[in-house]
C-alpha cells in the first residue's frame, strides 16, 4: 500500500514533464457570463514549466525517503498542481488561483518542519499574502481597464493606469522574488523549511516571481520600452529595477558571507542570484532577457543541487553550523563533488553554464551602456567567491569539529541520485552553452517578439559582442590538466603522504585535537573591517519594518479615537461624512 502510494507520488511529481510533453493547443471555457477561463502554454510559461519539470522529481526523491511524512507529500502534490495551473493560465483568474494554491501549500509545507518557529511562519505568510493581495488588486485594476481577465497587452493605458498596474503587479512579484527590502521572509523560512523542500522553495517557487516579472512587460504595448523614456541605451524604468536588483545582490552577498549556518547562507545567496535576474529583467533587451532566463535555469539546477547536498549533510551529521562540520571530503565524496560543481555554477566560473548566463548579462549591460550597474554586479559576483569557498571549505575541508562530522557516512541514495543527475546536467550545459540557448531560450525570445540570440552550434555561445566555445574550453583545460599531472608524476622524487591531519606547518608547534584549527566559522568575519562592507552589514531592514509597524499602530490609534462609546459622536460623524460627501458632489459637478 505504502509502496503504491509512494510510486503514485513520484508519478505525480513527473506531471510537469508529462504536461510539457503532451500539452498542445489550449483549453477554454466560460466561467460565468462574459468571463472565459483560458489555459494555454506560452513559450515563456513553457520555459518555466521545463524548470519545474527538472526540479520537481529530483526534490521528490529525497522526500520519499522513509519515514515519509504523508501530509508533506500531499501538500507537495497540491503545490505542484498549483504551480502548473499558474503556468498554464491564460487568464488572471486561473493565475491567481494557482498563485494562492502555491502560497498556501508552501506555507503548510513550511509548517511541517519541526524547526519552523512562530516568527518565521508569520513573516512567510504575511509577505506572501501581501503579495497575493497586491496581485488581486492589480488584477481588479486590469479588469476595470479591459473588462476581461485574459492575459494580453493593454490597448492604450494612460500613465497613471500603467503606473498603478506596474506598482501593484511589480510589488507582488518582487515580494515573491525577494528583492530588498522585501526579502526578510526568505532567509529564515528557507532555513527552517524541511531540508529537501528548501531546495524546491529556492529552486522553483522563487522562479514564479521571475516568471511574473518577465510576464509583466508583456501587459504593456511595446513592453515598457518607451515608458518613462530611455536612459543611455536602455529603458529608464528598467534602470530603477536594475538598481534594485543589483543592490539586492550586493547586500545579500555580504549577508551570505557573514552567515554561520549552511542553509541560511544558501538562502541569502538565493536572494543575491535572483537579484541578478531582476537586474537582467530591468535591462530588458533580448540579450538581457536571454541572460535572465539562463540565470534562472542555472539557478534552479544549482540551488536544487546545493540544497539537496546540504540536506544530505544535515541528515548524516545532524549539524548545520559551519563551525561544527569539517573534513567530510573523505566521508561524503559524492556530496563533495555535488557541492563543488554547485559552487562552480553558483560563482559563474567557466566552463559551467553559470558563466554563460553571467556573460550574457554582462554583455547586455555593456550594450545598454549601464556601466555603473555592471561594476556593482561585478562586486556582488566576485564577493560571491568568498561564500562559495566558505560553503565548500567549512563542511568538507579543514578538520572535523564535532562527533557527528567525524563519524558521518555518505548520504543515502535518494539524496545522491538527484545530485548526480544535476551535476551531469550542469556539465552538459557547460560543455554546450549554445544548447540551452537553442532549445530553451530562443523559443521564448521569439514568443516575446524579441531577436533570438541564435547559436551557430551547440558548443558555441555567440552574441554580437563575441562569444566562446564551451567544448574547446573544456578540452583545453582537460588536456592541460592531464598533461600537467602526467609530467609532474614523471619528475623524479618521492611523494609522501602526511602521517596525520595534524602534521601541519604550525610554527614548529605540534597541533593536537584540542587546537582550534578549523577556520569555518571565522571566515569572512574580518570583512567587516572594510568600511563599506561593515556599513552594509550593520544595516538591517528590521528597523524599517519596526518603524512601519509603529506608524501603523499610531494610525490605528488615531482611527480608534473616533470610535468612542457615545452614540452622539457616532451620529455626529455620520452627519459630517454625509455633509462632506454632499459638498464634494456639489463642488464636482452639482447635484
Amino acid at each position: 500500500m505504502s509502496a503504491m502510494l509512494r510510486l503514485l507520488f513520484f508519478v505525480v511529481s513527473l506531471s510537469p514533464t508529462l504536461l510539457l510533453v503532451t500539452w498542445d493547443g489550449s483549453l477554454s471555457w466560460a466561467l460565468i457570463d462574459g468571463i472565459r477561463l483560458h489555459l494555454t502554454l506560452t513559450p515563456l510559461a513553457g520555459f518555466f514549466l521545463t524548470l519545474l519539470a527538472l526540479a520537481a522529481p529530483l526534490v521528490a526523491l529525497p522526500m520519499l525517503r522513509r519515514p515519509c511524512d504523508w501530509p508533506s507529500l500531499v501538500l507537495y502534490v497540491l503545490l505542484l498542481l498549483g504551480m502548473q495551473l499558474l503556468l498554464l493560465a491564460g487568464d488572471f483568474v486561473s493565475f491567481f488561483v494557482g498563485w494562492e494554491v502555491m502560497t498556501w501549500s508552501s506555507y503548510l509545507l513550511l509548517l511541517r518542519s519541526s524547526r519552523a518557529d512562530m516568527e518565521t511562519s508569520q513573516s512567510f505568510i504575511l509577505f506572501n499574502l501581501a503579495s497575493a493581495f497586491l496581485l488581486l488588486a492589480g488584477i481588479l485594476v486590469f479588469f476595470s481597464l479591459t473588462g476581461d481577465f485574459a492575459i494580453r497587452s493593454l490597448a492604450e493605458p494612460s500613465l497613471p493606469q500603467a503606473l498603478t498596474l506596474l506598482a501593484l503587479f511589480g510589488l507582488a512579484f518582487l515580494i515573491k522574488v525577494g528583492t530588498l527590502p522585501l526579502h526578510i521572509w526568505i532567509p529564515s523560512s528557507y532555513d527552517q523549511a524541511p531540508d529537501a523542500f528548501s531546495a524546491f522553495l529556492s529552486g522553483s517557487v522563487s522562479k514564479m516571481g521571475v516568471y511574473g516579472l518577465i510576464l509583466l512587460p508583456t501587459l504593456f504595448p511595446d513592453a515598457l520600452a518607451s515608458f518613462a523614456g530611455r536612459f543611455l541605451n536602455g529603458p529608464a524604468f528598467g534602470y530603477l529595477l536594475a538598481w534594485v536588483g543589483v543592490i539586492t545582490s550586493v547586500v545579500a552577498t555580504f549577508k551570505a558571507i557573514s552567515q554561520e549556518d549552511m542553509k541560511r547562507l544558501l538562502a541569502y545567496s538565493s536572494i543575491a542570484q535572483v537579484g541578478y535576474i531582476t537586474t537582467a529583467v530591468g535591462v530588458g533587451s533580448s540579450l538581457a532577457i536571454a541572460g535572465a532566463l539562463y540565470l534562472a535555469l542555472v539557478h534552479t539546477l544549482v540551488k536544487v543541487l546545493l540544497f539537496i547536498s546540504v540536506a544530505g549533510i544535515v541528515l548524516q551529521t545532524g549539524q548545520r553550523q559551519f563551525k561544527d562540520l569539517g573534513r567530510l571530503i573523505e566521508r561524503m565524496p559524492i556530496s563533495f563533488f555535488g557541492v563543488l560543481i554547485g559552487i562552480i555554477g553558483l560563482a559563474g566560473m567557466p566552463p559551467l553554464p553559470g558563466f554563460a548566463a553571467k556573460y550574457l548579462v554582462f554583455v547586455s549591460l555593456v550594450d545598454a551602456r549601464w556601466l555603473l550597474l555592471l561594476a556593482a554586479m561585478i562586486l556582488a559576483s566576485t564577493a560571491a567567491f568568498i561564500y562559495c569557498y566558505k560553503l565548500i571549505y567549512a563542511p568538507f575541508l579543514g578538520h572535523a569539529n564535532s562527533p557527528g562530522a567525524k563519524e558521518a557516512r555518505e548520504a543515502p541514495w535518494p539524496y545522491l541520485v538527484p545530485q548526480v543527475i544535476l551535476m551531469g546536467l550542469l556539465v552538459l550545459f557547460g560543455l554546450f552553452p549554445g544548447l540551452a540557448i537553442d532549445v530553451l531560450i530562443d523559443p521564448v525570445l521569439v514568443g516575446l517578439q524579441m531577436a533570438p540570440i541564435g547559436a551557430e552550434s551547440w558548443a558555441k555561445l555567440t552574441t554580437v559582442y563575441g562569444g566562446y566555445d564551451g567544448v574547446v574550453l573544456m578540452l583545453v583545460f582537460g588536456i592541460a590538466f592531464v598533461l600537467v599531472t602526467g609530467l609532474f608524476l614523471l619528475l623524479r622524487g618521492r611523494m609522501r603522504r602526511a602521517g596525520s591531519p595534524y602534521d601541519l606547518s604550525f610554527a614548529g608547534e605540534v597541533p593536537t585535537a584540542d587546537t582550534p584549527l578549523h577556520y569555518g566559522a571565522g571566515m569572512g568575519r574580518e570583512l567587516r573591517r572594510i568600511p563599506l562592507v561593515g556599513w552594509i552589514l550593520r544595516q538591517g531592514t528590521r528597523g524599517f519594518y519596526l518603524g512601519l509597524a509603529g506608524q501603523m499602530r499610531a494610525a490605528a490609534a488615531l482611527l480608534g479615537n473616533l470610535y468612542v462609546g457615545r452614540p452622539q459622536a457616532w451620529i455626529l460623524i455620520a452627519v459630517v461624512v454625509l455633509a462632506a460627501s454632499l459638498a464634494a458632489r456639489a463642488m464636482m459637478g452639482g447635484l
Partner: protein, 210 residues
C-alpha cells in the same frame, strides 16, 4: 637532559657520524650534476632565530651583506626551506621546535649551526637547560663557530655549504634517515615527555612512499 654514557658525545659517536660522506662514491650523471648546481644556486633559509645569533642574521639579507646575490633568501615556512640555520644556543624547549621544523622540511635539506653554542654549548656549557651538542639531535652540515660569528663568517659558511652541495654525495639528511633510531633515542632522552608524537617521524622507518 645531558647524560653521561660509557663514552661521551664526540668520543665514540663522532666516528660513527663521520664515516660516510666522501667515503661513499656515488656515480652521478650530467643531470645530477646540473640539479646539484641549481640546488646550490638557490638556498631558501629557515632562520631559527631564538638564540643571540639571530641578530647577526638580519644584516645578512640587507644591503650591506646582500646574501641574495648567492641565491640565498628567507623562506617563510619549513615546507619551503632548504637550509635551517640554528642561530646559537638551544634550550630544551626550543629543541623540540627545531626538531619539528627540521622534520617538516623537504629533502634535500641542510642545517647550519651558527655560533659556538651549537658545537659545545659555548658560554652556556654548564646550564641545566641548554643543549650542548646539537648534532646529537639533528645532523648539522656546516658549523660556523664564533661567539658571535660576523655575517661574513656566516656567508663563508653558506659558500662552503654550496661547495658541498655542488660536489654531491651524502649530506646530513642522509645520516638522519639512516641513523634515525640513534637520533630519536637521543631526542627522547633529552625531551622525555615532551617528545613529539610518533606520526611526525615514523615515516622515516616506513620508507615513507605515499
Amino acid at each position: 637532559m645531558y647524560h653521561k654514557t660509557q663514552c661521551e658525545g664526540f668520543q665514540c659517536e663522532q666516528a660513527m657520524l663521520e664515516v660516510p660522506g666522501d667515503a661513499e662514491t656515488v656515480r652521478e650523471g650530467v643531470l645530477d650534476k646540473l640539479i646539484a648546481w641549481m640546488r646550490q644556486r638557490s638556498l631558501f633559509v629557515l632562520a631559527y632565530g631564538t638564540g643571540c645569533g639571530a641578530i647577526e642574521m638580519r644584516p645578512l639579507m640587507t644591503s650591506r651583506f646582500d646574501a641574495e646575490r648567492f641565491g640565498i633568501i628567507g623562506a617563510a615556512t619549513p615546507r619551503q626551506a632548504d637550509v635551517l640555520v640554528i642561530s646559537g644556543y638551544l634550550a630544551l624547549k626550543t629543541l623540540r621546535r627545531v626538531i619539528r621544523s627540521y622534520e617538516q622540511m623537504q629533502e634535500p635539506k641542510y642545517v647550519i649551526g651558527l655560533g659556538s653554542c651549537t658545537i659545545n654549548g659555548g658560554m652556556y656549557w654548564d646550564s641545566y637547560n641548554t643543549v650542548k651538542q646539537v648534532d646529537r639531535y639533528i645532523p648539522i652540515d656546516i658549523y660556523v663557530n664564533g661567539c658571535m660569528p660576523r655575517p661574513e663568517a656566516l656567508i663563508e659558511g653558506f659558500v662552503a655549504l654550496q661547495q658541498r652541495i655542488k660536489q654531491g654525495g651524502k649530506a646530513g639528511y642522509h645520516q638522519y634517515r639512516e641513523n634515525i633510531d640513534w637520533y630519536k633515542a637521543n631526542q627522547r632522552k633529552a625531551l622525555g615527555e615532551e617528545m613529539p608524537p610518533a606520526y611526525t617521524y615514523d615515516w622515516y622507518h616506513a620508507g615513507g612512499v605515499a
